[in-house]
């Protein structure tokens, strides 16, 4: 049960960090194995929203059973939570900034 909980709570973070790793290595071949219409931003939102759910689940488990996740689970979640939060904030700021001009490119 503990191993399953740890893995479940790590899933969004693993997805997000895998996405980052793919981005870092610049792989385009991975896209060939993905279903149609799965783009990086959609994967990001899946990982980010999944992380939010994972944090809620963790809080419930912690409060109701006193369960403690593994150290790996904690670190993965901390790293991904921080990155996803920053990426969301920066992305929204980028969009907000651009929206209050008119679209940048013409022709």
């Amino acid at each position: 049960m503990t191993r399953f909980m740890n893995f479940a709570l790590m899933t969004p973070a693993l997805l997000g960090l895998t996405l980052l790793a793919l981005r870092a290595v610049g792989s385009s071949k991975a896209g060939m194995f993905l279903p149609d219409r799965i783009s990086p931003d959609r994967l990001f939102w899946v990982a980010a929203i999944g992380q939010l759910l994972a944090l809620v689940c963790f809080a419930i488990l912690r409060l109701t059973t006193g369960w403690r996740p593994s150290r790996l689970c904690v670190w993965l979640n901390v790293v991904w939570t921080l990155y996803a939060s920053l990426a969301t904030v920066v992305g929204l700021a980028w969009m907000y900034k651009s929206r209050f001009g008119f679209p940048r490119v013409g022709y």
């Binding site: 783009s39 990426a87 980028w94």
Partner: protein, 629 residues
Amino acid sequence: MAESSSETESDWDPTLSSTSSDNNGESTSSSSEDFSTSSETTSSEDFSTSSETSSSEDFPSSSEETTSESFSSEDTTSEGGTSSEDSLSTESPTSTSSEALELIVDQEQVCCHQWITGSVTYTGDGSISISPSVTITGIIEFGYTWKYKPTDEDCGTNVFFVATAGDLEDQGMTSVVKVTLGPTPLPWLIPVGRYRTINYEIKPSGVYINAIIRRAGAGDIQFEDGSHAMTLSGSGDFSLFAVAISSDVGDVELVICSIVVLTVAYVQIDKVWENLLPALPFPMLENINFFTRNSSAGTGSGTGGPHSVPYDFLLMSQQQDETAGVWIRFQVKPNKPAVRSVLKFRYSTGMNELLGNSTLVDDANEARLSATGISGDASVVAGFQLDPESAFTVSDIFTRTQFIVRIVSKSDYLMAIEVLELLAFFGETFPIARAFLLAFLHDTTPHIPLDPIPPIILDRELKHNDAHHNVGAQFSPETNSGPIKEYAWGPGGIIADKMLQSFEIKEHVRIILDAHRAEVLAYFDAFPSEPHTFEFESDVDIQFAETWDLHLAFGSARMPVRLLVTVRLGDLDVTHVRLVATVQDFYNWRYPIDPDGARVQAGYGKLGSGRVFRVSVVLDGQVEIQYSY
């Protein structure tokens, strides 16, 4: 006054003596080459007595004057060869019991170093002496004519002439006017439409003189009341105003004792363009990043063109050495070396700070302006720096451009790169925009993670006005264009999929379907039993406003669209829409909206990366849309 004789040897009696005195009237020996030999005067009653000792060789054959203080029948001797006291025997014209002495000074006032002339007559026996020493210029009945050149000490004073003969004395006076004009150095050039204030001091006091402006050509200068003459006295100042009475200008003379030549000048900036090749000593690439004299705020002429860019500035960046240079084409009148030598150009910032140094191209109306450390907005000004010792100041400015140059500093460029790198690092939610941004920042091929289709890379040229600001490529003087890349994606990739699914594309499809409603209904009226696939074509200017990734990557784009629309029988529902289009776009930036991107673009080729590129995406796929005729 008796008839004066001319100053020629034949008329001149060489026995005329002279003594000299200083201005105080003290008799001293005068130095005279004319009378450098010792001469014994003869007693004679006749003016035309001959000298016993002096020969005609003592007096040059040319018409030279004799300095004389005394005009005497008494003998005088001169010593040493540097002074002479010559005597001239005189004879009373008539035997009369009453003696008369008359000194006449012709001028009431003269300017410094102008000759004063006069005459003296004495009807009696004996000699006439005049103080200060004068030069005899001719013999007249009972006397002689004379002239006197004021010395430096005389300038600005009243010179009193005292003639004495026997017991008689007569006086005359002339004011030797000294005019001092300021400031120093005296302005010799007045730009058209500008005033120059000149202060003056006239000595001796109480003297009035005329200042006259003499036009000699197309230029004109007036006093502040519009006149060309005014009377001056004492001290004060007056203003001169330069006007152009035709398309040309030239020199004007201000006559105020001396003649001051004033030049009416004019300069006009016709064109300013970025110095894209600062290493070369001659202007090039003048038709890339430029503005012209007729460019005005809002029109963007010069950087506008097809886009009608509503910018009133020219975007450019510093070089690696933090200098920013432009070329200037101008007209200067009169176009002569003296005027060109004082013609200067500067950048003028908002605080009226003048920066830079200009160098004129020999034999051409072009100049290079360069400044180190300048950034931000600046207009280009031109003017005449009359005082080479002082700096070019705001008061020297004659004209300034309405258009401005917006200079991106090296530090601003580097900071903008850091900001955009940060956006790209966290731009996980916008993979296409992020890929384009990184390609722009690193001058690499855009790579979209997980995209199975890499772009095809094509070589293209960026020409004037292809981009919003004419920066972002290294332009070649041979082709007047800069090499850029085009990244072309075929159908089926992430970009094409995202576009086909985008709200904006669906909206445009809807608009096209609406536009052909009558055509579709007419078809099914005519052929009610057959389903049909229609083909519609349209040019679409699309703005990706809702799909954030596309908004940041493309913004707006133009594409010719071909729609294959299948409509089924009965309810006339659209069952299938196939869209075929090619989206084309220049990836470049607008400074008012995205200044950081525009700063990086401006620095390309000089400070680092930031090259504009072209993007094309082929769309060929189904658009999922609910629509019914």
